[in-house]
Amino acid sequence: MAARVKIELSGGLEIIFGNAKEYTAQVPSGASGKVTVLDVMLYARDHLLTERPELFMKGNSVRPGILVLVNDVDWELTGELQTEVADGDSVVFISTLHGG
């Protein structure tokens, strides 16, 4: 199984993703047979990230300071890494900004 997902990077995170803010990718399912945000994150790391992976992930999740949105909703409300995604869903990784 796989899902066609829109992956967006913002808040400066696009810099380590080849300076592109938006990708559409066919993300294959993980061990569970379903496609989850975990699978999207790993796909982004393995196929879209171009440099400095430590600015994207820490351990088995995103690094501190990154907010993840699934269809414009904070992933804390949808089930974090285990959130299931389907064709047409969007996953946004935003680096929080501190500048002023």
Partner: protein, 280 residues
């Protein structure tokens, strides 16, 4: 209340376009004229935030900044003129606010927001605007607002992107730590001074912060609590996403908080964020 009404009458002409507005009216204007707002940072965000709050008629406006105006600030920090370069930002911003509206009280705090003074500063006002430019100050200010129960209009701008949300509002509004319990590594945090910022970007976010502060202190409209407004100025894209509520067990804003009125002053923000408030 009577003195408020009297003061408001004297200013009726100044605020007539807000008073005539059905969604705002004399009641909201009176609340605004009776409210006190603290703006932390008189830079790219603080410039329009302070100016629009002063103009719209917030009764008492505090401005905190310890820096001096630099020439490299002028492209975005429109509250400061060339003549202010070298002078205190807080004084320059306060003077500009007074020039726009002499009927309000403007208080310049020429100091750095620090664990030792944050609570006292925040407690002196009804609502707070985070117009700072570093992770150290952002965590400290959010903690102080969580402890003092003051709503915090949090804006940020970098490059051509901007973010805006309201923290610590009402029963379920999260604080900065609810969203980001662990601080990012310093190398992941751009600041305007090194990463650059296009002038109007903090202008847009700072003006929106003033708008949110007006909404919060008057009770008019729906503040951006549990929502994040994201601006991509290059794409001309702006949209709002849904955020979590207050987190159970948040060290700053939950019932189980360990950061308290007593402990905040001794919390080591430098160790937590790996940075100083004045780090470039």
């Amino acid at each position: 209340m009577l003195s408020e009404v009297v003061r408001l009458r004297a200013e009726i002409e100044r605020y007539s376009r807000q008073i005539v507005l059905p969604a705002f009216g004399v009641e909201a204007q009176a609340k605004l004229c009776g409210a006190a707002v603290l703006v932390v940072g008189a830079g790219g965000l603080g410039s329009p935030a302070a100016l629009y709050l002063a103009a719209a008629g917030v009764g008492r406006l505090g401005i905190v900044d310890c820096d001096a105006v630099e020439r490299s600030n002028l492209h975005r920090q429109v509250i400061h003129s060339e003549a202010a370069v070298g002078g205190h930002k807080a004084l320059s911003a306060a003077a500009a606010c007074r020039a726009v509206n002499s009927s309000i009280q403007v208080e310049a705090h020429c100091c750095r927001l620090a664990p030792g003074n944050a609570l006292e500063l925040v407690r002196g006002y009804d609502a707070v605007v985070d117009a700072s430019d570093n992770a150290f100050t952002r965590y400290l200010l959010s903690d102080a607002c969580a402890v003092a129960r003051r709503p915090l209009m949090s804006g940020a701008a970098l490059g051509t992107d901007g973010h805006l949300t309201v923290y610590c509002l009402g029963d379920d509004g999260p604080c900065h730590r609810c969203l980001f319990p662990e601080a990012p590594r310093p190398e992941a945090c751009g600041r305007c001074s090194d990463a650059g910022v296009l002038g109007p970007v903090p202008g847009i976010i700072g003006t929106l912060q003033a708008m949110e502060a007006v909404k919060v202190v008057t009770g008019v409209g729906r503040p951006l609590s549990r929502r994040l407004l994201m601006l991509d100025a290059l794409q001309g894209r702006m949209h709002t996403v849904k955020l979590r509520a207050k987190m159970v067990g948040c060290v700053a804003c939950s019932a189980a908080a360990t950061i308290t009125s007593a402990s905040l002053a001794s919390y080591d923000y430098a160790a937590f964020t790996g940075a100083q408030p004045n780090d470039a």
